[in-house]
């Protein structure tokens, strides 16, 4: 990583961690995890399962919200507020700027997820009075959630490289929702015929495959995650996010700052 990308990434991280929105969302996620402990008390036999389901879902959803809220600020807010002017007139290449922003946000999200994970494991420890081997697959589920954040961030970058902050927030969120239903889209593709079949198949490859990155339910049942899936999901997330970052750079390369 060249030094300018590192400098931009660090600055993005620093700017993000000083924003109060971030802490509100993290605190909310931790409250959700705590609440799942309470909820667990009124169910029978599935406390651990409920904690894992609700806890990891909270981490995932709040992380995505953070990714969107801060992610759209990456480029479109900088254009909107013209903080970019003093940056792009320095010896920084535009793709370096995009890449720096991307890494900065991914680091921010990883650190957040770290805090939320810590909160989650404390809750788990409180509930189970110890850890077991299958808890390792919880870490895999969290790793997949991180991959998901990475993709959401990259998508936010693409949208914010050509639209206003609010538009990019809406578009990114829409992509997240559609991506979470990618399973159903694939199911539709299987039964559809003719043009709509090809359309659905094409779409299912364009929208991010968040279904495959969501192993929360399976992990909550104590099922292990296959090594092959870990490898392939990693490969998928990196190439998909890479595509989006290239696309964002490409759009940004030729855009006019208003």
């Amino acid at each position: 990583m060249n030094s300018r990308i590192g400098v931009i990434a660090f600055n993005t991280f620093r700017e993000a961690v000083r924003d109060r929105v971030l802490y509100n969302l993290i605190v909310f996620a931790l409250i959700m995890i705590g609440a799942s402990l309470l909820l667990g008390q009124i169910t029978i036999g599935v406390e651990r399962q409920l904690l894992i389901n609700l806890g990891l879902t909270s981490i995932s959803i709040f992380g995505v919200l953070i990714a969107i809220f801060i992610g759209i600020g990456l480029v479109s807010k900088e254009i909107d507020k013209r903080t970019l002017y003093t940056m792009l007139t320095r010896p920084v290449r535009r793709w370096e700027f995009i890449l720096g922003k991307f890494f900065g946000l991914v680091i921010t999200l990883a650190v957040n997820a770290g805090f939320m994970t810590l909160g989650f494991f404390i809750a788990l420890l409180y509930l189970m009075h110890g850890f077991q081997r299958s808890d390792l697959s919880i870490l895999v589920a969290i790793y997949f959630i991180l991959l998901q954040f990475m993709i959401v961030t990259a998508i936010a970058l693409v949208f914010s490289s050509f639209s206003t902050p609010i538009e990019s927030a809406v578009l990114t969120f829409a992509f997240f929702v559609v991506g979470s239903f990618s399973e159903d889209l694939r199911g539709f593709a299987e039964v559809a015929k003719g043009t709509s079949h090809y359309f659905a198949v094409g779409m299912s490859y364009i929208i991010p495959n968040f279904s495959a990155l969501n192993v929360i339910a399976s992990v909550a049942h104590g099922n292990p995650v296959s090594h092959q899936l870990i490898l392939m999901n990693t490969l998928y997330a990196f190439t998909y996010a890479g595509t989006a970052v290239c696309l964002a750079s490409l759009i940004f390369q030729n855009r006019n700052m208003k």
Binding site: R14, R82, T86, M87, T89, R90
Partner: protein
Amino acid sequence: MPAVETFALEKTYRVGFWRSSPKVALKSLTMSVEAGEIFGYLGPNGAGKTTTIRLLMGLVNPTGGSVKILGGSIDDPAIRAQIGFLPEQPYFYDHLTAKELLNYYAALSSVPAKERSRRIDATLTRVGLAQDAWNTQLRKFSKGMLQRVGLAQAVLHEPKLVVLDEPMSGLDPTGRREVRDLIEELNHEGKTVLFSTHILSDAEALCDRVAVIGKGELRGIGVVADLTASVKGNVEIMWQGASAVPAISSMGLHPHAVGDTVRVVVAEAKVDAVIDALRRSNAKLVAVTPVRTTLEDYFLAQLAKPTAEVSR
């Protein structure tokens, strides 16, 4: 080699929901800024000053023509390393302190890490930002303080060319004085300074040369003294004898009487006619003095002209 050169530079925006109606922001601008001079880019609000500067800085792509900065392209990072830029109403990362921000920019401009801290302190002192604000987050800064931080980031890395968009805006009279001094200092250090303003006195006091722009078109460019001399000036005529007032008023002029002394300002061309009229009324001529033309007169004269007969 000129510091800035433009060749038939043009920018047309497409406006409206379907981006169907073209709006010309800058019409075929050809000019150059010589190395080592202070160049003022003048025009009323909305004349196209900021558009021009964004085109020069490569923030906006031209729809026609081209720009050369320091003999190269603004898209070349090596060229960008040698320029400093202060945008109009600068805005920076809210959550950084002044020092953090400058450190960030210094790193991006490849200022060696060892030198950064010393240079940041020196620059902040130079732009007159009070030391107790150095470690305050920028969201707590006033407009004037932000303007100073903006100036600091523009000169921090010792660029060859400094481009300032409305550098005096948001500053109190003392601040403006300090910015004037700063610009002169930079010039003495051998830097080229290009700044835009709509405040003419600043330009008149500082600039070696100015360009005047109105409605996206260049209306005049040159040395300040030459430009003001080119304006057909006015003449002040004073005489004694209020009896001559009606005759002068009938010529469409507005004489002012103070006791028995009357004063009128007329265009050069009318001087002879007025003096003839005064003689006929037996008034006693006291003084005929040319009024000094200011840049403002030139400016207004250029903007008042229909676009076709613009002087180049």
